[in-house]
């Protein structure tokens, strides 16, 4: 299995509202990230647009339906289609979420939480190994935001993720907003979380907005909060060069607003790396 080299780029999600900007203009990003499933189709406009975007920018394929934590294993048709897309697009890398989305019969299209048990860890590791073998490349898996934990839990989420990365050789997509959301919702320390992760396996960071409340909801529908920026700065002090992306999926603003947020991330990271180097 090949390694994924660190890439200190700054990018945005490619969303329909901004297609024209990305395909007709010059957008100052180092990569774009797309939702894999939107392009796992037979033909037509979606694939043509993705190929045009790929001609201009490196592309990351970010999936939402692999269901790596499914007790019922992985969907062979899904893996075959994802591999075909990857062979066609040659992405920087491919990622999905540490979660489950489907049962034996139905798909929820939501990122559901896993019990943090030895049994679930075995299932996740088996599924990751199968996915990486089928795709012929290592993947990144993203820490989830969650709204409940299970009485069955046997370990902390960061311990689960560290064991997962160690056993499978997968890489990590660190969603800083998700750490912030889950730390608030479940009462753990976000700093303990960062301390417990194998940070040398992180290749990408996601930043996004959330809906505040007694239970914080990961909505991706607003600007990144001050608390998440502070945690990002903390993460960047501990990480070497990694890619950073602003994730926005709802109430998508004009592109300049997102580029302003991305510039803030770039400044944070650059200053931090310079300070660490000095």
């Amino acid at each position: 299995m090949t390694d994924i080299a660190p890439f200190a780029g700054f990018g945005l999600g490619l969303r329909r509202r901004h297609y024209a900007d990305f395909l007709e203009g010059t957008v100052p990003v180092d990569f774009v990230e797309v939702i894999s499933e939107n392009y796992m189709v037979d033909g037509g406009k979606p694939l043509r647009l993705l190929e045009e975007a790929r001609a201009r920018h490196p592309v990351i394929l970010h999936g939402v339906s692999m269901s790596i934590g499914s007790a019922h294993g992985l969907d062979a048709d899904y893996l075959a289609r994802l591999k075909a897309l990857a062979d066609r697009i040659e992405p920087l890398w491919m990622s999905d979420h540490l979660c489950w989305t489907r049962s034996s019969a139905h798909n929820t299209h939501d990122l559901l939480p896993l019990p943090l048990t030895a049994e679930a860890l075995d299932v996740v590791c088996d599924n990751i190994e199968r996915a990486q073998d089928a795709l012929g490349r290592p993947m990144l898996f993203e820490n989830p935001s969650s709204y409940l934990t299970f009485p069955e839990d046997e370990m902390a989420e960061w311990e689960f993720i560290a064991a997962m990365a160690q056993r499978t050789g997968c890489y990590l997509l660190l969603d800083v907003n998700n750490v912030y959301v889950s730390a608030h919702n479940h009462g753990f320390s976000a700093h303990d979380y960062l301390d417990g992760l194998p940070l040398d396996r992180v290749r990408q960071i996601h930043l996004a907005g959330h809906q505040p409340g007694d239970i914080i909801v990961d909505t991706h529908d607003r600007a990144v909060s001050d608390g998440v920026w502070a945690l990002y700065a903390e993460a960047m002090r501990r990480l070497g060069p990694v890619a950073t992306m602003i994730e926005r999926d709802d109430k998508i603003p004009p592109l300049p607003n997102l580029l302003d947020e991305l510039a803030r991330a770039r400044d944070f990271a650059t200053q931090t790396w310079e300070a660490v180097a000095a």
Binding site: D42, S65, T108
Partner: protein
């Protein structure tokens, strides 16, 4: 069943149904978290259906559509990994819920066919000159045994309403629905022209012949259907014209070997 499978089946069942009791050891905090997942599930699916069936929503109104979509995603939870297929069966749900307004089901079926044509496999249509060149040496037996390949994504929707007028009238949010019954049922032929799904209304007899050929029947078998519907004389006249229309529309991808 493993403990993890049991937990996942149980959680999914509780996302789909509000009334199931909480698992042992769950608190009000768990219930509040579960409610967020339940809401996310329903919102994502209803939004997917709104996106796929936007004209149907305009026809029945936002609130009626939301109720129908919520009913559909509870009664028919999605089975595919792609949200694109969440609307599978929604026309049947419309037939059930809007039983007195058959135009709703027909419009939903047309939107579903257009939705499925959009990402269909790419293929170039065969033009009239290409078809003529290929069939130049055909004898009678060749014509009777002729098999055609149609563009991927081609499908048919039977209708009793003028879907052309209805489709056009609902193109914008402000449009008033133009629901007009046809003198005779017709067939909407749906395919993708370049990157854009399109449709035309055609007589039922033409739809029957097209369906037979699309399912692997021969041109001779399709012509036999025309004879049954139109009588021999009109069938002969119409068969050639029908083939010419299909070539002009660009729905034939090639002659099957």
């Amino acid at each position: 069943m493993t403990a993890l499978a049991e937990l996942q089946e149980g959680m999914l069942a509780r996302i789909l149904a509000d009334e199931l009791p909480l698992p042992h050891g769950w608190t009000a905090r768990h219930e509040a978290g579960l409610e967020i997942y339940r809401n996310n599930y329903r919102t994502a699916l209803v939004e997917a259906l709104r996106s796929t069936f936007e004209r149907t929503e305009r026809l029945v109104g936002e609130e009626s559509f939301r109720r129908a979509a919520a009913h559909h995603c509870i009664a028919h939870p999605p089975t595919s990994w792609t949200l694109d297929l969440a609307g599978a069966g929604f026309p049947d749900t419309c037939a059930e819920l809007f039983a007195n307004d058959p135009d709703v089901e027909e419009l939903a079926a047309l939107e579903w066919a257009m939705h499925r044509a959009f990402p269909a496999r790419d293929a170039e249509p065969l033009d009239t000159a290409g078809f003529a060149a290929t069939t130049a040496e055909f004898g009678e037996a060749d014509w009777i045994g002729l098999l055609l390949d149609f563009l991927p994504g081609l499908s048919l929707v039977r209708t009793r309403h003028d879907l052309v007028g209805l489709w056009s009238s609902l193109a914008t949010l402000e449009g008033a629905a133009d629901v007009r019954k046809l003198d005779e049922p017709q067939c909407a032929v749906v395919w993708r022209e370049g990157e854009r799904p399109v449709f035309v209304l055609r007589p039922l007899w033409e739809g029957g012949a097209l369906a037979a050929l699309a399912e692997g029947g021969t041109f001779g078998e399709a012509c036999a259907l025309l004879v049954d519907e139109l009588g021999e004389e009109r069938a002969v006249t119409n068969a050639g014209a029908m083939l010419a229309r299909w070539l002009a529309d660009g729905i034939i991808a090639g002659i099957a070997q």
